[in-house]
Symmetry: C2
Subunit: 531 residues, 2 copies
């Protein structure tokens, strides 16, 4: 720890030395975060760099400085803390994603999202485990048991939804954004479920029943987590609508929204459900109901403060991953040669590439085969981008890897350290390389290409159809024939229509929402707030 | 710890048991915070209750529930954590106070604030120490050494600026608010300095030189902390003005303001200065310069999100103090009879009452004697309210008390525990009783009384004078005679005039501020934002 000379005998700081170390760490992180924001801003126009890569790079540099200052000894600041990540950094990101997601598009692609997220993760897990089983133990003197191999399968199946959010744009490539991002959220939950199952599985009796039990667990978790998130979101909407806090205080409304969102995550973790799924759906419900029940000032404040918190957490995570990569103890403990390290990392990378290709292209093509509507088909270029954008591995991968190998009893210390360092190498490489290439790649493959306009314009027409339905609720009485034709052609639209009926007649009178709460005088709705 | 049954064999939660306990604690706190907000809202119209008292009461109740559930065993959730308080809860409150304070009024009362805050705290410390020295060791079998006695003097001198903020209104009683609140901020810093000096002092050689050294330390801390806060604030203004973040992202602006504010606190703590003073002045500078350099959305967001964070922290602190009061280990360790406990607590209360009266009335009357201007005089009714509003003791008192007596080596365990429980009793009593009586008392003594209007209207006239100066910068050329008369009558106004000249000609062109940054199209300034 850096000890600064005290200029005077008396000091105001009566805090303990543990606290002093915390203060140093906080100072370093806050200074670095400010630097990331400023550098990220200056690099805004660059196609290659983004905030994640800047943060990762700055994290690596400052980790190096810490190592130099501490003379290459281990330092607390460089050790990855899972609790910090899962309890404080991940929730705001996922909540904000749910809060800002374009709901219509997300739910229209819901079956794609589930297919890629659930089935895809299972395929990827099986393939990566098989590949690891066949390859890893042949490299150098590595010796892993079956449980470690399966854990690696789960660890490498967790895509990084955070970095994906930064390289894909919700406005430029809406279809891809909703599929890749939605898949990411489901995939996070799925890979954590698989990982835990692997950790708790008894390997003396693997059979079909176990596999079915695993699937049952996932379905149970998915449904209960979603219901919990929706319930907390609706409760917040009901409370704010009933008590009408804005009359007295904007702060109370904003505080209640923040607290209840975070509460949904915590209660899900307490009940051993998937907090990620819960807070994501809580965010969706809050943006649909609660957000419309508060005053104009609260709307602006929540919208931007949630985005800001998410932004700070994202930047912090990448900074942290960068610094953590230089946790010298792991590198020292791994006695493997450079050749072995590179071989393991490359194997990991190859497995990730193949594992993802093995489900993206088949699932997309099979789903294309069943879908009759041209606009819902995923053309090959888009499939390629879906494959590519999901190759990045991030903080979830590192967290799971540390969890599996940090305190392993069955695996030798050298092998454990090698697995952790290889995972870190994979994360750094994939984020830096895939992350910086993705933006230019999307531009080259999709945006500048004429083919894309077809799919986009079809999409646009459908959007128009939805708008048409929305603006004209009495359509079924007045003009039944064209509506029926719509219904036959666009079943998703029909579901949406019935949902709107239910929403307007039952949900919104109870929970509020757009147009169902009197506007407070003096807080005019701007166009941005309504959208 | 409450362990909930897991419904299925596999669990998503691979977090450690320490984390599980954290999750339970977070769940409890978030649920309680939501309850506080809703109950506080429902009690809004009550003159007697406020959010602090609701939170304190809820904290006590839930502490009791925890005790019943754990069968009166000690529980982590009930132990006061100084780091949590000083590193995470106090900074947002003090920053927001600086950010929202009415700057003109604050600086006009600056000499009063310094007199009450510095001289007053010293007088209070001396008197309470003397009283404790004469009384405490005669109660029961209490046996404290001179260092403990002096520490008690410092501990009991720390007023609670948080609760004061809730019972005094900036709009109803602006003069009192700025004096009592400003005094509170200086007093916090001062009592912590005295406390640390007492802890590090060598009692074999107390002499006049030591006392002067103490004063020198305080002046050094006050100046350097202020300069640091101002410097960080100006840096944030300069960065945001130069890079003009709003062009790209509202989130970046908001994030940078939050991070730099918190950074100022951390760097002050790192340099062993007073973080409280630093972040307070950082808040003042940020609201004067930085806030005007950002977009309209960012202005609304920062204003309300800072207020919300401060609100959550305040509520949390009182909840925490309430729960902490039931830290059963302290009550068990203190083997004193109920009579002794009550005697010590009552002595503490009496010392606080006398210690505060001993400086408020003399200082106010002496300052009245030197001030010629009628509006700057503090009449007796106001003196009474200043005395009364500063009687509440809060989290700083508990934090200092825990720090002194939790790990004391020289004092017996019984006496240490007795001191801690007596401090807690004092805090609970003063917050509950003085806190709930203050609002009705102010109404009875000041607001409904005709005398007040004189002082307020004089104040109002002066305010008009300031406005007049501001709106007419060329007054000195065109009409010199009346201006000189103003200058002679209101020296404070003259200082303000020169400050404005300096601000307009030198500071604002560099650091931005109201009217010095082009307004972004589409983000009109509302009246509220300008004020």
């Amino acid at each position: 720890m850096v000890v600064l000379p005290s200029p005077l005998h008396f000091s105001t700081s009566f805090l303990s030395s543990a606290t002093a170390s915390t203060i140093v760490a906080l100072c370093v992180f806050f200074a670095l975060l400010c630097a990331c924001i400023i550098i990220g801003h200056l690099l805004e126009d660059s196609r290659w760099a983004n905030e994640s890569i800047t943060a990762l790079f700055l994290g690596l540099c400052s980790g190096l400085v810490v190592l130099l200052v501490t003379n290459f000894q281990s330092h607390d600041i460089l050790v990855f803390n899972e609790d910090l990540f899962f309890l404080y950094l991940l929730p705001p990101i996922i909540f904000n994603a749910g809060f800002q997601v374009k709901k219509k598009r997300f739910f229209r692609n819901f079956n794609h999202i589930l297919l890629f997220g659930v089935l895809g993760t299972v395929i990827s897990f099986c393939l990566i485990s098989l590949g690891a089983f066949l390859l890893i133990n042949r490299i150098g003197e590595v010796n892993l048991d079956i449980q470690d191999i399966l854990a690696i399968g789960a660890i490498l199946s967790a895509t990084d939804s955070v970095c994906t959010l930064q390289v894909l744009s919700q406005d430029e490539t809406p279809l891809l954004y909703s599929i890749v991002f939605g898949e990411g959220v489901v995939n996070d939950a799925m890979s954590i479920v698989i990982f835990n199952s692997v950790q708790s599985l008894n390997f003396s009796s693997i059979n079909a029943v176990k596999a079915l039990e695993l699937l049952g667990t996932f379905l149970y978790l998915f449904c209960t987590s979603t219901i919990l998130g929706v319930a907390v979101g609706l409760l917040s909407a009901y409370l704010i609508k009933t008590f009408y806090f804005g009359r007295h205080s904007t702060d109370r409304e904003v505080a209640l929204m923040m607290l209840m969102a975070y509460f949904s995550y915590m209660i899900a973790e307490l009940l051993e459900l998937s907090g990620i799924l819960t807070i994501f759906f809580c965010g969706i419900v809050m943006s649909h109901y609660t957000w419309h029940n508060v005053t104009g000032n609260s709307r602006t404040t929540t919208k931007h403060s949630f985005a800001t918190m998410s932004f700070i957490s994202e930047t912090f995570i990448f900074l942290y991953v960068g610094m953590d990569a230089l946790d010298i103890d792991n590198w020292k403990a791994s006695k493997a040669s450079i050749g072995t390290s590179i071989a393991v990392s490359s194997t990991f990378l190859a497995l990730v590439l193949i594992g993802r290709a093995a489900f993206v292209f088949p699932i997309a093509n099979i789903s294309n085969y069943f879908v009759t509507r041209e606009s819902a088909k995923i053309e090959f270029r888009s499939q390629f981008i879906i494959w590519w954008a999901g190759l990045m591995r991030g903080a979830v991968t590192i967290a799971l890897s540390c969890n599996q190998f940090s305190h392993s009893e069955t695996t030798s210390q050298e092998d454990s350290a090698l697995m952790i360092t290889s995972t870190i190498t994979l994360v750094l490489f994939s984020t830096m390389v895939f992350g910086s290439i993705t933006k230019p790649l999307i531009e080259a493959v999709l945006l500048k290409h004429s083919k894309q306009t077809t799919s986009d314009s079809a999409d646009y027409h459908e959007e128009l159809g939805l708008l048409f339905l929305e603006s004209n609720d009495s359509i079924e009485q007045s003009n039944n024939q064209p509506f029926l034709r719509w219904m036959m052609r666009y079943p998703a639209t029909t579901v949406h229509y019935f949902w709107r009926q239910f929403d307007d007649n039952f949900m919104r009178p109870i929970f509020g929402g757009w147009g169902f709460v009197p506007v407070v005088p003096g807080t005019p709705l701007t166009e941005e707030e309504i959208s």
